[in-house]
């Protein structure tokens, strides 16, 4: 099922590349060798916007700078296999395969989840790209079909189980708010990395023993940076709404992001 969803994203990548005038080998080779949706789309965007090789490559690699972290998180999966399998497995390391592996507790199931998911995603991503290239001209604007909503939705669905843990959820919502806040000012890919401040804040909040219960509503109460308490407070409120209601949260957070973007 995730494979089909990724196939849909692959279709949109192929179709976007072709409809904006790239030769067919570009999306096809990228999907085979890079195999990272965000990086491929970012590099393509920059190239089509007139950016050079260096800018396109840098943006793609910054977007992929999270891969070593995922690699460390699933290192037990890739550490227990022989080198050829490890090299192949490394190529299969993507957000979804890492998320699937991390959702499994047992080592054997983790490994199976990682490799099956990774291989399936690779096949579907490339089939999707091929289909998108073929259908590119006929389809017109992929945005009209809403295909751009598929990729974030897939990631959201994968991360939902991990969000049940309150501390992780607070860190994640804080991180997301930070990423949104700095998106207007930073080059693509960096805001997501800046979001890791959310982990540090949550760790600091949890580590000051005793104050955890009381610290709840205020989040990282007593953290050193002055920006922290306010930002944290705001995102916690929206965070509360996200779980049950959903809609209000997004309205709130991107009201702010939108305002900054327009400013």
């Amino acid at each position: 099922m995730v494979g089909l969803a990724i196939g849909v994203v692959g279709v949109s990548f192929g179709a976007i590349a072709i409809s904006r005038g790239e030769p067919a080998w570009v999306p096809l080779t990228m999907s085979l060798t890079v195999f990272a949706a965000g990086a491929q789309l970012a590099a393509l965007d920059i190239t089509l916007g007139g950016g050079g090789t260096a800018a396109a490559v840098a943006a793609g690699l910054v977007l992929n700078a999270r891969l070593p972290l995922f690699g460390l998180a699933v290192a037990d999966v890739l550490g227990g296999v022989r080198w050829p399998a490890r090299l192949l497995g490394s190529h299969a390391l993507v957000d979804q395969s890492a998320a699937f592996a991390l959702a499994q507790r047992e080592p054997a199931r983790r490994r199976a989840a990682f490799f099956v998911c990774g291989a399936l995603l690779y096949v579907m991503w490339n089939l999707g790209t091929l289909l998108g290239v073929v259908a590119g001209r006929a389809m017109g604007d992929p945005g009209a079909l809403g295909l751009d909503a598929a990729e974030p939705m897939v990631l959201l669905a994968l991360v939902l189980p991990a969000l049940r843990e309150p501390r992780t959820r607070r860190a994640a919502l804080l991180g997301a708010a930070i990423a949104l806040g700095c998106t207007p000012f930073l080059p693509g890919g960096l805001p997501v990395l800046v979001a890791l401040v959310g982990v540090a804040a949550a760790a600091a909040g949890g580590g000051t023993g005793g104050s955890r219960g009381a610290g709840g509503p205020h989040g990282t109460g007593g953290s050193h940076d002055t920006g922290g308490p306010h930002g944290t407070g705001g995102s916690h409120d929206t965070g509360g709404a996200r779980g049950p209601g959903g809609t209000h949260d997004t309205d709130g957070s991107h009201g702010a992001a939108g305002a900054e973007g327009n400013a």
């Binding site: 099922m1 969803a5 080779t29 060798t33 890079v34 195999f35 990272a36 965000g38 491929q40 393509l44 190239t47 490559v57 793609g60 891969l67 972290l69 690699g71 460390l72 998180a73 290192a75 890739l78 550490g79 490890r86 490394s90 390391l93 957000d95 890492a98 998320a99 991390l102 009209a144 809403g146 295909l147 751009d148 598929a150 974030p152 939705m153 990631l155 669905a157 991360v159 939902l160 969000l163 501390r167 992780t168 860190a171 994640a172 919502l173 997301a176 990423a179 949104l180 998106t183 207007p184 979001a195 982990v199 959903g246 809609t247 997004t250 957070s253 991107h254 992001a257 939108g258 973007g261």
Partner: protein
């Protein structure tokens, strides 16, 4: 896009992929570090969801895309079949755009 750009992106990306497992051979991670790593992954993914649903080209992406993502996410949270959630997400976004909401 130049062949050189594709090549550099491919080689660089593979290097990043391989560096995680390679590093883990050299450093031993405690429980606390593992917890933090796992939380980092979740935070990164959430930030990716937020930025890729709400922003495009450093500005607000319009209402249609986040609406689709929310509809799909709500279905997934209610344990609807994954493909149904994905189709609902794309359909919501597509329908909103067709109605003139972007």
């Amino acid at each position: 896009m130049t062949p050189l750009a594709v090549l550099l992106l491919a080689v660089g990306t593979f290097g990043l992929r391989l560096s995680g497992p390679l590093l883990s051979d050299r450093i031993e991670l405690g429980d606390r570090a593992r917890q933090l790593l796992s939380a980092s992954t979740t935070v990164l993914l959430c930030a990716l969801v937020a930025t890729s649903s709400l922003t495009a080209d450093h500005a607000f992406a319009g209402w249609a895309r986040p609406a689709g993502v929310l509809v799909g996410g709500a279905l997934a949270a209610r344990r609807a079949p994954f493909l149904a959630a994905v189709v609902a997400a794309a359909a919501t976004t597509g329908a909103l755009r067709w109605l003139g909401v972007d």
